[in-house]
Amino acid sequence: MAIKDLKQFLETYFTAHHCTINEKEDGVFTVQLTEELDRALMNRPFYWHYVKKMGRPGQPMELTFITNPEKREQKGEWIHFGSPRLQQIMNHLKNNECFTQLFQKVETTERTALFPWLVLNVKISYKGKQKKDEIISIGLHLVNGTMKLEMMDILRDLPLQNTISNFCYTISPIIKVRSGFYRVEAVLEDYLQNQDQEWADESQKKLDEEVDLLKHFYVDRTDLEDPEDQMKREIDDIKKRYEPTVTMQVINGGIFYLADNTMN
């Protein structure tokens, strides 16, 4: 579920940050920023520095966004998938919304147990001659060790909140969060081992070929000052360009306390 509806995405973002949104017309809306978001997005530290020094409250800016490209000539910022503003917002999210702890909302008058799940969203990048990414969302039951894939899709339909509902209580993890993390990592490594390695073999072949050519280039070179140095540097360049590498990086994750029957 990559961003499908940009306007919806922005509305959620700004509302979650307590900004007021005014729809002007279809595809055009204004956002009254809060001080927090003004500081995060508007890049004017001096303004805030001086305002605070003078003991004034300061006036956060109002932004006008245009999501309908037909109207991009109007006054305001045309915001689209490549626009610097959206990149900025997405980076703001990626840097600040990494950790969570959530509870399933349960309407009940009986005592109800909520079980802890470790949820990790992991980006795996495969880099050789070219590069591609894969995102895996994985959940681990911290009591019985069950694992689920596509966890975010499952969670999407659940009511979740930062506080626990009345009459609910949490079961303590038997698997520690850190060991849970390593279990997930081990499963992902296993998954990687069993994948098609053609891309990596091709990249390695290319790497070897170019290093061979390079060495041939330096045969009997007498006209250079430091042929050895130069050659070493160029071999490094080639390695950086082709060396097959896989990187696992956690996007975000958290502990989710869910009712027992939820995941069946």
Binding site: A2, F81, E97, L102, T245
Partner: protein, 557 residues
């Protein structure tokens, strides 16, 4: 850590370290909404395939031409980010390079990039990368530490000087681009060795003239990108010698070059759909003007004949240009006043220049459309602006010496308010004026490459209409000879001049303008000059037809 033989695996412990701490201090925890948005943002920015150009989705405001997209794809998918981009002038090498850089940045493969461009184009590169590609490039300024900025644009002269040079060599660049890379063809120069010594992952060399004189030029360029691809120096020289002719014969060599070089030509691209309509507009000097011209010709005083040709050219452009130049000469050379004064007095008496009058006539014919007028002389530029104003035609000036801001402002005034832009030669490089499709060459440069650059301002990527070019020349003057013998005989207006550069290099003519000027100044009569000029063009012409037609075009695909 090594894993699965040759595949390296990087794991990331920072998340769990941080998360442990957050749990321990019980927060802060993200809300469910923002947690989901972050996940969506990652899904949106990830790259799920090895192939293809993701950058196109990020740049919906730019209309790329098919050949530009193909080029970027080929460089990223097949050349692995090291290539010579050798499109003919005006096809958008900058666009292709920007697209490639953007692609690598989106895929997270490039963070640190260095763009080396001619000093006059540094600001334009910076602006294009920012405006067209949303790449936060910065023009290097004095005292900027090189390490502190991710995408810097600089000139070769700055970069290769110390202390910059040593600082730059220490940096691990993910991407290095050299514009006007034909200046790197000699492996003994400081420029060449500097670029070779940079630590760079991806590398693009941009040039419109990849092979000029000797085949070893291309060997040197390729050796920056892929040392050894064409063998080593000795084996290359032994096999191919230094002449460029081998290139035609050797299919294998051509194929090797194709693996690292892309050359698009107008002929093959959609640009050829817009045509050039060329019209030569002949005018005659008025009697008074002709008499001044003749008396200049007849001056046998000992000033260098070189300056005499210049005076004659200037008189063909405007009274003002010639007058100012004579005045300056008289000031510097004692005793010259006596024989120059009569001519200067005569010039002062002259009525309006016949060409200026012709321009107004032409403008009536063209109607309301935008027109660029090129002249070689600043004095003429001033005069024309005033003269057009007298005839209620609005114009703005443009010169290479203008500051960036003023250039942009003039360009904008021209686009939105004025009908005419009057540019001098130096202003010819670097601005793009595709919204205009009429160009008047008020006087012709004696170097066809510069003419091509003028035309390239409007007949380029982004031009939707046919372009109209008017060349004004005065009969019975040096202009007539240059027009007939240089331009019309070798059909330079119709052809794209790409090949000419190669031909001149083969003839070992460094600067055609100087060559022509010396033909005029060293000849004792007009007849002699005409014969020599005719000989020169015949040689060019025959070299041209001997040339395998479209040879260069066959390199790339």
């Amino acid at each position: 850590m090594y894993w699965m033989g040759h595949v390296k695996l990087n794991k990331d412990d920072t998340f769990i370290e941080e998360f442990d701490k957050v749990i321990e201090r019980e927060g802060p925890f993200t809300s469910w909404d923002l947690f989901q948005l972050t996940y969506e943002a990652e899904l949106t920015t990830m790259t799920s395939d090895f192939d293809g150009l993701r950058s196109l989705d990020y740049l919906p405001h730019v209309d790329f031409l098919p050949h530009q997209i193909d080029t970027a794809k080929q460089v990223v998918e097949h050349m692995n980010g090291r290539a010579i981009l050798a499109d003919e002038v005006g096809l958008g090498k900058t666009i292709e390079a920007g697209l490639i850089l953007k692609e690598y940045m989106i895929r997270g493969l490039v963070k640190k990039a260095l763009i080396i461009a001619p000093a006059s184009l540094v600001n334009q590169w910076t602006r294009e990368l920012n405006e067209k590609f949303y790449i936060p490039a910065i023009a290097h300024r004095k005292n900027y530490p090189w390490q502190d900025y991710d995408v810097l644009v600089t000139s070769m002269d700055t970069a290769k000087k110390n202390p910059h040079c040593e600082e730059i060599k220490q940096i691990n660049y993910d991407f290095v681009l050299v514009d006007e890379a034909h200046k790197l063809k000699n492996h003994k120069t400081q420029n060449y060795q500097f670029v070779r010594s940079l630590k760079k992952k991806y590398c693009l060399l941009l040039t419109a003239t990849p092979v000029q004189n000797r085949l070893v030029d291309i060997f040197n360029l390729v050796s920056i990108l892929k040392p050894g691809h064409l063998g080593n120096y000795d084996s290359f020289i032994k096999q191919y010698g230094k002449s460029r002719h081998k290139l035609k014969q050797d299919a294998y060599l051509k194929q090797l070059i194709q693996q690292v070089m892309i050359r698009n030509t107008r002929k093959e691209t959609e640009l050829s759909q817009t045509k050039r309509h060329i019209e030569t507009v002949w005018v005659n000097f008025s009697e008074d003007e002709q008499s001044v011209y003749d008396s200049l010709v007849d001056l046998t005083e000992p000033f260098t004949s070189f300056s005499k040709v210049t005076f004659l050219r200037e008189l063909c452009s405007s009274r003002e240009a010639c007058f100012l130049s004579l005045q300056k000469y008289a000031k510097n050379e004692k005793n010259s006043q006596s024989y120059l004064e009569p001519v200067m007095n005569k010039i002062e008496q002259l009525p309006h220049h016949v060409k200026a009058q012709k321009i107004v006539e032409l403008m009536e014919k063209i109607g309301d459309e935008k027109v660029i007028i090129f002249t070689e002389y600043r004095a003429t530029q001033f005069y024309l602006q005033w003269y057009l104003q007298q005839h209620n035609i609005t114009s703005v000036p443009y010169r290479g010496g203008f500051k960036r801001g003023k250039k942009d402002w003039m360009r904008q005034l021209f686009e939105n308010h004025a009908q005419v832009l009057i540019a001098t030669e130096a202003g010819g490089e670097g601005i793009n004026l595709q919204f205009c499709n009429h160009l008047i060459n008020y006087d012709l440069p004696w170097n066809p490459m510069r003419l091509e650059q003028r035309i390239g301002r409007i007949h380029r990527y982004g031009q939707d209409n046919d372009v109209h070019i008017y060349n004004i020349a005065i009969r019975d003057t040096v202009e007539e000879h240059v027009m007939n013998l240089l331009y019309e005989k070798i059909d330079l207006f119709e052809k794209v001049i790409g090949d000419l550069d190669d031909i001149l290099a083969e003839l070992e003519i460094n600067d055609i303008e100087t060559e022509i000027q010396s033909i005029f100044s060293e000849s004792s009569s007009t007849g002699e000059a005409k014969i020599k000029l005719d000989n020169l063009t015949s040689v060019i012409e025959s070299t041209h037809s001997n040339h395998a037609i479209g040879e260069d075009q066959q390199y790339g695909n």
